[in-house]
Every structure is written in C-alpha cells, then in structure tokens.
Symmetry: C2
Subunit: 366 residues, 2 copies
C-alpha cells in the first residue's frame, strides 16, 4: 500500500490540491486564513508520505463541519496564561487552525521565557502532530506536539480500551542535514493500518492487537468492530502484549501523552474519549518549545546535529537492507519527490475528492 502503480493512482499538483482543499473549507464558512492552514496540514501529510492523515480524510472534515461536530467559526478562548504557558479552549473548532496559532504563541513565549508549553482542549482531529512541532525549527528551538485520540489502546495485561493511539512528535533542527522529526503513535500501530488489513482481507501480525480475552488476535474486521462498540479488545501499546518486549513502556507513554494533553487542562481523557457513528471525538493537544540558545549556541547545536544524523544514516545496514534512516528523513525525501511529481492519490481518495468538488461546484485539479 505504500507505493502506487500507475493504474491505481492519480497524481495531482500539490499547490492545486492545497488550493482545492482551501476552497472547500472556505465554502464551509472557515475564514480564509483558517481554511488555508487546515488545507496545508492535510496536504502536508500527503507530501510527507502519510496518506492516512492526508486529503483522503477531507470528507471527514466536510461531514464534521456539516453536522456541527466541528465549528467553522468557533469562539476560541484563552482560559489561562502566563509568560511561559497558555491554555486554549478551542470551543469545537477545527484542530488545525487553533493548534497552529497556539504553537505560534508558544514559540513567541519561548523566545522570551526560554521554554513555553500549552494545552488546547475541546478540539478536533489536528492531522499530523509533526506539523506543529516543526514550526519551532526555524526559530532555533526544539518542538513538541502531542494529542490524545478516541480510546483504542489496551493497557498491558488489560482487555479494554483505556487510551488513544496518542501520538507524540519531537523535532530538533540541523544545518545541512534534514531536521530530526520523530512523529509516532504510542501504540504499535494506528487504527488506519488495521483498516488497511481489513480491506485487503489479510490477517494481522501477532502482537498488534488483542481480542475480548485480552490476548493477541489477528482478525482485523472483528477487532475493529469490537473496539468501536467497546465490546473488549483493541490495539496494543508500543512493545506489544504483556511486558516481555516492553509493552508497559508504550502503555506508559500513551498515558503520559494523555496526562499532558488532558489532565493538565481538565479535559476528558482515556476511555471517556470516543468516536460515534456520526461524530468524532473531542480531543485535546499539548505543545511545547525549548529555545536552544539557553543551553548552547544554536549554530554549534545544528553542526553537532548534522554530525549525529550523518553518522546514523551512514551506519552499516543489516544484511538484506539497503539503508538506515533517522526519524523524519524518509518523509523529507518523499516530500521532495511529491513536490516534483505530484501527490499520489488512491482511486478511493480521488473519487471522494471529485465527489466533494461536484457537491461544492468547485473545479478539481486534473
């Protein structure tokens, strides 16, 4: 599923695709600025080779805005603020605009305070966490972004979903090397991957998910259904079942993300967050930035990052493997190709976008 053959996909110019998404959001009453940022975060996911978070999801936002689950012009409110912190009530708006603005404010605060952090609650799906963390890079800061999600993850030795796939992103700038950008769910896999196995009628690898008994199971359709209706079972934390391969560590990381996103600002957490058939979960996010020059001259930091990252990608590969990457490198390389050659869209995504174009009487990039 990672690469598309000619027959299976269309390629669309990324600027035109972003413009199209922006027009759809504007037709749904988002301001021009909010529409742009919402479009940008979506297309950025496709650019970086993460189509599960890209324009294939546009219809979900269209639905969300139509049903009122997501508000196009929410009354966003700062509910607590200090020189180094901010708590924002998104009041049901789209995730991307409020997240982007909050991260910008955090970066401004970190500029004078050295470091700054913020929570956003009453929000919606914000796309890829890495997008917001990466806003810190050009300011000579390390960036941090996290979000909780609908509960899909099962604790070590448990059998019920108690936390989301709770991604965390961390990034640090380099100089000539591409930045280090870690953007990972804290579960073994995201729900999207299990859906792909289901569509392709494949059984899951062991140690991705558990069934109602709490033990590793491999039928993707059954797991998705039982997980959605909370019949028991769900996705395993990073490290897998039990503790032998460190499942308790992934479980701990997922709860850490939930504490920072939700408990720190009084938002719902854990099993209280759920999607329904007609709406997606209200989620909360956590962002942070730390200024490098509090610790060291940024130019020296960047030069040492170059050395570290170059050594990592130059390390000898395992037998049968071609390359060793570092976090974010593959995505930057993908971005370059996609900008040159166009965004590859699966037939399903292409059709869903065409349908949206027709509904809104917008022209879709050919």
């Amino acid at each position: 599923m990672k690469s598309f053959t000619k027959k299976q996909c269309h390629k669309v110019d990324y600027c035109e695709l972003k413009q199209f998404c922006k027009e759809v959001f504007m037709a749904l009453k988002l301001s021009k600025a909010d529409a742009l940022i919402s479009a940008e975060v979506l297309v950025e996911a496709d650019l970086r080779g993460i189509p599960s978070h890209g324009v294939g999801r546009l219809w979900r936002y269209v639905n969300g805005l139509r049903t009122g689950q997501m508000l196009p012009e929410p009354h966003t409110e700062i509910v607590r603020e200090t020189a180094g912190s901010i708590v924002v009530d998104a009041n049901g708006g789209m995730g991307a605009p409020v997240s982007s603005k909050t991260m910008q404010m955090i970066i401004d605060k970190a500029e004078t305070n050295g470091s700054a952090f913020g929570c956003v609650f009453n929000s919606n799906h914000f796309g890829i966490a890495g997008y917001y963390a990466m806003l810190a890079l050009e300011h000579n800061m390390v960036g941090l972004a996290m979000t909780n999600t609908a509960a899909l993850g099962v604790p070590s030795f448990g059998r019920q979903v108690m936390f989301g796939t709770n991604p965390l992103a961390f990034c640090a700038p380099a100089n000539t090397e591409k930045a280090f950008v870690l953007d990972m769910s804290t579960t073994v896999v995201s729900r999207g991957k299990i859906e792909v196995y289901d569509r392709e009628h494949k059984i899951l690898p062991e140690n991705w998910a558990v069934d109602k008994t709490g033990h590793s199971a491999t039928d993707p359709g059954k797991i998705l259904k039982d997980m959605f209706y909370r019949h028991g079972g769900g996705i395993l934390p990073l490290g897998g079942e039990g503790t032998q391969h460190g499942g308790h560590k992934g479980y701990g990381l997922a709860v850490m993300v939930d504490i920072l996103c939700a408990v720190l600002c009084g938002a719902p957490s854990g099993a209280d967050i759920c999607d329904t058939e007609t709406s997606s979960a209200r989620v909360s996010h956590f962002f942070g930035a730390i200024k490098i020059d509090c610790f060291r001259e940024p130019a020296e930091f960047r030069a040492d990052m170059d050395k570290m990252l170059r050594r990592l990608r130059a390390t000898r590969p395992a037998e049968g493997e071609e390359r060793v990457y570092y976090a974010g490198l593959k995505e930057f390389e993908c971005e370059k190709t996609v900008i040159e050659q166009g965004v590859p869209l699966s037939l399903a995504t292409f059709d869903s976008l065409k349908k949206i174009a027709e509904e809104f009487k917008l022209s879709f990039p050919s």
Copy 2:
C-alpha cells in the same frame, strides 16, 4: 529472578543499608551530603524493586572512585544559565549528587519561570532516572529526567550500536493514588537483562537483540561479547526489529534522549560513548520540571489524576492475568513491602557488600 526464595537471599534493613553505603562513599572522600545522596539513590532502586540499579552496583562506584574515573570532590561548574535553564559540567563527579542538585535548581527555577530544564555533562552513571523526576512531585510539578548511556542499541535496519539504552522518566503527582512514574529504557531491554539470561544459560526471546548480521539473535553470551567489543550487533530499540512492530519509534525515542542530554549541551553522543574494561562511560543527563499551576489548580489536577489512575488499575484484566497496573504503582507497592520486611539482596550482592565492608573496615548490617 524477580523474587528471591529464603535460601537465595538476605534481607537487610533499608536504613542500615543506606547508612552503610553512605559510610563507604565517605571513606572514598565524598562529602557527607554527597555520600548521603549517592547512597539514597542506590538504595531507592532496591526499594522500588529495581535491583539492577541498586546496591549490587556499589562495587562499580567503589572501583570508579578508586581508579579516578569518578572524582569524589569534582569541581562542578555551571557553564550557562538563564532564568529557566542551566548547563552543568560535572567534571567527572559521581552522577547522583550533581543530578540531584541540578534537579533541585531546576525546580526552583520552574517555581518562578513556569518551566525549567537543564543538562549535566561529563557525568557518571546516575542510578534510576525516576529518582530525579520524582523530586518534582511535592512541588506540584511534572518532572522529567533522562540520561544517555554507553552505546548498546542498534538502529532499525542497522547492525551496529549507535545509541544507549537511553532511559527517560516522566512523573506526575496524584492525591490519594500513588504518583504516575514512568521510568523506562528506550531499548526493548537493558543490558542487565541480557546478562541475567547469560548467567542462567538461557536463550533470549526473539526480537530483543541482533547479531553481526543485524537480525534477531538469541545467544546472550555472544551478543554481550560482540556488543562490548563493537564487533556488530546489539540491543534492539523498543518495538523490536525493523518497523513492523514500531522499532523505528523506539529508535527515535532513544535518539531524542541523546539529543536532549548531549547535543543540547555539546557532550559526546551515540557511538562515541563507551565503557571499557577498566572504566565506565562519561555520560550526560537532561532534567526538566513544569509547574502545574500554569495550566490548572494543582488540587484539581491531582484529583483528576486520581480518577484516571484508579480507572486504569480497576480495568478488567486479560484472561489469566490478575491485575492491571499503571506506571510506578508496582514500584510503590514494592517499596512498602521492602521498608517493612527489609531489602532483599541476592547472594552475589550480599557477598560483594561484605567484601567492601571488610576492605573499608566497616560493619555490615546483619
């Protein structure tokens, strides 16, 4: 190896054990205060059921102090400081005293700045990361502690050690519940676990370590030797081999820890950090504290933490399992038992302590 039978272990009163360690450190020219903190961190590991980081390692510190790898009275220096940050050159001192003092300074800074972070470089092994993170708890802060270690970890698709077991600790206070304390290496397991399998002539589970080819291997003795002499092979990142179970995530977390501990303050990182037969690696650490009341009333935060943690430990266990824990709970329960019943010491540890007692002409707790 987790529990000891009567014949295999001695139990020693924890206060007396701490006093003994303190006297050993004082005999090795540490100040009374530094000796106390060094003893406390060691015994705390045994209290929390982490004997791999406990008094069984006292002989290593004795050796380190005798050979000059660790200095008893180092010229510790603050090399950069702002209202919210600090960089400390430990100048080869013991890890525990400088780490404890730095974390205290960070907590003081966070009290006025909202958040604060610090690096310590030119340091030595600091024991359990959780100890320092937990210093933040009574100040209504979340705490953070990390360290890099001698390189033992192999990147996804690689075959050479390029980073340490790089633990990270994160903690958040609750009210009536025990605090949430995540303290985890970012590799599947630590070297200590592989040593245990070697001593017991057992083969390793798949997906813990790789050999010179870069693929999963199960002979602990061979892996330890090849890893030490850098012949190829080493421990896998959390998530295991390749990317199918998220090994690239553990790899990314390990590098993140190295960036914050080392690149941020200009200290050696990655494969440059190594133990030799006569000395252990100079390592660096990263600490942080974020004040809860920048985001929310701490009492409300603690009450919500109670709710979250109570639900996690009350969730239904998998078939055949008795309990679900949250990060830190098992360790707090262990601490209670050990304080009441004494610190269980393996025969090997007991003998090594007796030998140290004889050398220094100190009485060892019976």
